[in-house]
């Protein structure tokens, strides 16, 4: 156990040295690190609990997705039947399906065939399962089209993908460093933004769907009658976004939507110097807008954001240039935010914040200080205790401990891992566990000495017997750490990570570094008795 071949020594030292070297980028100024090659840039990232920031877990509103899907389906059914000139009554959304009654018995067969064409095999990862997006059933002259659960799931999955891109654009406008935006599960998005003092603005930016459309106001129907329920099917009643809530009767038909925008910027109205948002349409949007404004001079149209009327100006003259401005009762900041939202695009479905954890930078700095103090005090006490208990071998143990801790930080750097406060706790706990491997070895050596072996034999036997135990006993803790890593989230995961890495480096140092130090000492001093 005490003999090392030359290449083995070299390998051990090189491995330990390289891993320890990985710590270096953490101490270099950020500018210098950025100029290094990519592989040398890896460093430890401080968790949100240490540097401050916001952790938001957003969920796509599955019910809204379902509702939208059903409404689109109803429109599709209406269009199909109209195109085929098939008379129908009672086209409604009921529960999870769209129902329609065919007026003429003779047309039912034809209608069923045409509507069945709306049912498509699912694409994406569900393509192989042969499932379809719709189930079409017929009872008498009633045709029912049900949206299948896999279809909803697929749509939710798409919505998450699209939302991530849009969120990225919105968050980037905040100008923070290294935001993390990630899919979680089927319907969730994790957003982590470090270094925010107040997440209110972030939440406002994420909480809005920002669906913008331009529609005509139906002046034929006064809002009062609409309120009493006399609303033509092609109209809907919407309210203004600012207080007091003014009702507007607007057409459901969308003239131009936010998708046709190419740019939006905050600005000031030249006459009133109120904050406004100016926008520019793409070519097709500009053409549509020009047509509509030419036909409707003198009539009001509504600019609607997330089903609220921002403003309803009267068209004074045709707007042909493809650009315009939105004035509402904006503040400078809300105009700026709206411009950001319009540039980033609309979310495909509303998002709900289901978990929020925000740590202010003050608390983060305090936590770092507390983590440091407890690590220093813990380390000092352990080191002192080992010295008092094992003397020279205690020094060996402490050298191994130092190598061990630096290696933990080295591995964390290599993994670009996140260090959290519980993560620091994991490292401090590892100090205790790491020392245990030395204790096992030294106690075994003491025993072997008592058993009558000479010094070199006792050290040799102590190592070889203790190492099996070290492996066995550390694997149980490692299993616990691994399970914790997979079920845990956030800071707790940081704890599992440092604990797990700590166990690996502990076993490594016990098998190599500690043994190498003892072997070198034996080779150098040729001891007659063991000083422990």
């Amino acid at each position: 156990m005490l003999y090392f071949s030359r290449w083995k020594v070299a390998t051990i030292l090189a491995t330990a040295f390289v891993i320890m070297l990985c710590v270096v980028p953490n101490f270099l100024p950020a500018g210098l690190v950025a100029s290094l090659p990519i592989w040398a840039q890896r460093h430890i990232v401080l968790g949100l609990d240490l540097q401050g920031g916001s952790h938001l877990l957003l969920a796509v509103d599955t019910n809204a997705v379902r509702k939208e899907k059903l409404e689109t389906l109803r429109d599709d059914v209406r269009q199909t039947l109209r195109r085929e000139r098939i008379g129908y009554t009672g086209l409604v959304v009921r529960g999870n399906s769209v129902e329609v009654r065919i007026r003429n018995e003779a047309n039912v067969e034809e209608a069923d065939r045409r509507l069945s064409e709306l049912s498509q095999p699912l694409g994406g990862i569900l393509a192989a399962t042969g499932q379809r997006n719709l189930d079409v059933t017929r009872t008498g002259n009633l045709i029912r089209l049900s949206v299948t659960d896999p279809a909803i799931l697929e749509r939710v999955r798409q919505a998450v993908g699209q939302s991530i891109q849009i969120i990225e654009r919105r968050v980037n406008e905040l100008g923070t460093v290294e935001p993390l935006i990630q899919r979680q599960g089927t319907d969730r998005i994790l957003v982590q933004v470090p270094g925010l003092q107040d997440p209110t603005r972030l939440k406002q930016l994420l909480g809005q769907t920002a669906k913008l459309d331009f529609r005509m106001v139906d002046t034929a129907v006064p809002p009062e009658t609409a309120r009493q329920g006399n609303l033509p099917p092609e109209d809907e009643l919407l309210y203004s976004s600012d207080e007091p809530k003014t009702p507007y009767v607007v057409e459901k038909r969308i003239l131009v939507s936010g998708e046709d925008l190419t740019d939006a910027q905050p600005g000031f109205d030249q006459r009133t110097s109120e904050p406004i948002v100016t926008f520019r349409f793409n070519t097709s949007g500009a053409r549509k807008f020009a047509e509509v404004t030419q036909q409707n001079v003198g009539k009001p149209f509504a600019i609607i954001l997330d089903s609220q009327v921002i403003s309803a100006p009267v068209i004074r003259e045709p707007i042909l240039g493809g650009s315009g401005q939105i004035s509402g009762s904006f503040t400078v900041e809300s105009a700026n935010d709206l411009a950001i939202l319009l540039r980033a695009g609309a979310l495909p479905a509303p998002l709900t914040i289901i978990e929020e954890r925000t740590v202010g930078p003050g608390l983060g700095a305090d936590s770092i200080a507390q983590g440091k103090i407890s690590a220093y005090v813990g380390a000092a006490m352990v080191v002192l205790f080992m010295l008092v208990t094992y003397g020279l071998f205690g020094v060996f143990a402490n050298v191994a401990l130092l190598v061990n801790v630096v290696m933990i930080f080295g591995v964390l750097s290599m993994l670009n891992a996140t260090l959290t406060l519980p993560g620091i706790a994991g490292i401090v706990l590892t100090l205790g566990i790491a020392v245990d491997s030395n204790v096992l070895i030294y106690e075994r050596i003491r025993e072997e000495v008592r058993g009558g072996r000479n010094a070199i034999n006792a050290i040799d036997a102590g190592f070889s017997r203790a190492l099996a135990t070290i492996l066995d006993s550390n694997i149980t803790t490692f299993i616990a750490a691994a399970v914790l890593f997979f079920v845990g989230t956030g800071p707790v995961r940081g704890f599992a990570l440092t604990l797990g890495i700590g166990i690996i480096t502990t076993v490594f140092t016990a098998f190599t570094v500690t043994r190498l130090i003892a072997a070198s000492w034996v080779w150098w001093r040729r001891p007659q008795h063991v000083p422990i």
């Binding site: 205790g432 149980t476 989230t489």
Partner: protein, 309 residues
């Protein structure tokens, strides 16, 4: 230099005889812990119960009465205020609001409004009903999974009796720790699950060291009565057990004293579980329980069978 010997060499304590005391004692404590769990219950934090936790810092010393009055007026259900650390640090807990995930966000906006602007928000945590129920089930699944994996591992490495013995010992550790959490109303949150898993792993670590030695002894001494054999195993690893627990206790005490409020319940739980229960269990429960599980009973008969023609 004379080195410190916490445990003298060649101790010969008859630990196995203590099982007549330690087993009833542990059984009683476990029952107390279980009763506590079912009557007083655990003090679930927002991770598992849902709701809102806000840590604020006021300009001068916090006027708790005024803040409480302002928050009670919001009618948000149960609102707890707790001053900790410095006189201007206040922890506010707001119970989960009915009405789903969005309602929690509205509640926090109201709290922000009621407390005014001359306050620093150090930490805001909002856990909605969906997430809290998931976190709890993940936590329970995690514990079960860890116990299962470790059981399988021990079964592979040792005989089945050792695996069962270790599990009895560790379930005992977990039960007592849960009793401790319940008795002292320590916040039970995600870090508590981490603490329980660490206690599980760490206490097993200790048990495995003794079991390793027992296995070695079983191979060496074929005819020694199992109680004597276990006594030797425990005595010969005693020094190591004590020293290791001292170093771990030192590290954890440093964390408990200086680690701050955010991890204090975590370190308190681990200090209790790892240092107090873990060391007691390995010696007084895990080792003697092997006697009842019939470890080493087959040895003599096997040897005799070999000797017979």
């Amino acid at each position: 230099m004379r080195l410190l010997r916490i445990v003298p060499d060649d101790t010969k304590f008859d630990f196995m005889r203590f099982r007549r005391i330690s087993f009833p004692l542990s059984a009683m404590l476990s029952i107390v812990a279980i009763v506590l769990y079912f009557t007083a219950g655990l003090n679930f934090g927002i991770d598992f119960k849902g709701g809102t936790l806000v840590e604020v810092q006021t300009q001068g010393p916090a006027d708790l009465a005024r803040m409480r009055a302002a928050l009670t007026a919001l009618e948000l259900g149960e609102v707890q205020l707790q001053q900790f650390g410095a006189p201007n640090d206040v922890l506010i807990r707001v119970a989960q609001q009915p009405g789903g995930d969005a309602a929690q966000q509205e509640a926090v906006q109201k709290v922000r409004g009621a407390l005014g602007s001359d306050i620093t928000y150090r930490r805001v945590e909002i856990v909605g009903p969906r997430v809290s129920s998931e976190l709890l089930s993940y936590g329970i699944i995690g514990l079960m999974l860890a116990i299962f994996c470790i059981l399988i591992y021990l079964w592979f490495r040792f005989e089945w009796q050792f695996a069962v013995g270790a599990m009895i010992a560790n379930t005992h550790d977990l039960v007592l720790t849960i009793g401790f959490l319940s008795l002292f109303r320590i916040d039970f949150d995600l870090t508590s699950i981490a603490a329980l898993l660490t206690i599980l792993g760490y206490s097993l670590n200790d048990t495995v060291v003794i079991y390793d030695r027992t296995r070695e002894m079983l191979r060496r001494y074929k005819r020694m009565p199992i109680a004597d054999l276990l006594n030797i195993s425990v005595n010969s690893t005693l020094s190591r057990s004590v020293i290791t627990h001292v170093t771990t206790a030192l590290a954890l005490t440093a964390l408990f004293l200086f680690g701050g409020q955010a991890i204090s319940s975590f370190t308190a739980t681990m200090l209790f579980g790892v240092v107090l229960v873990g060391s007691y269990t390995s010696i007084f429960i895990a080792a003697p329980v092997l006697i009842y599980l019939g470890v080493g009973q087959g040895r003599e008969t096997a040897d005799e069978a070999k000797e017979r023609p």
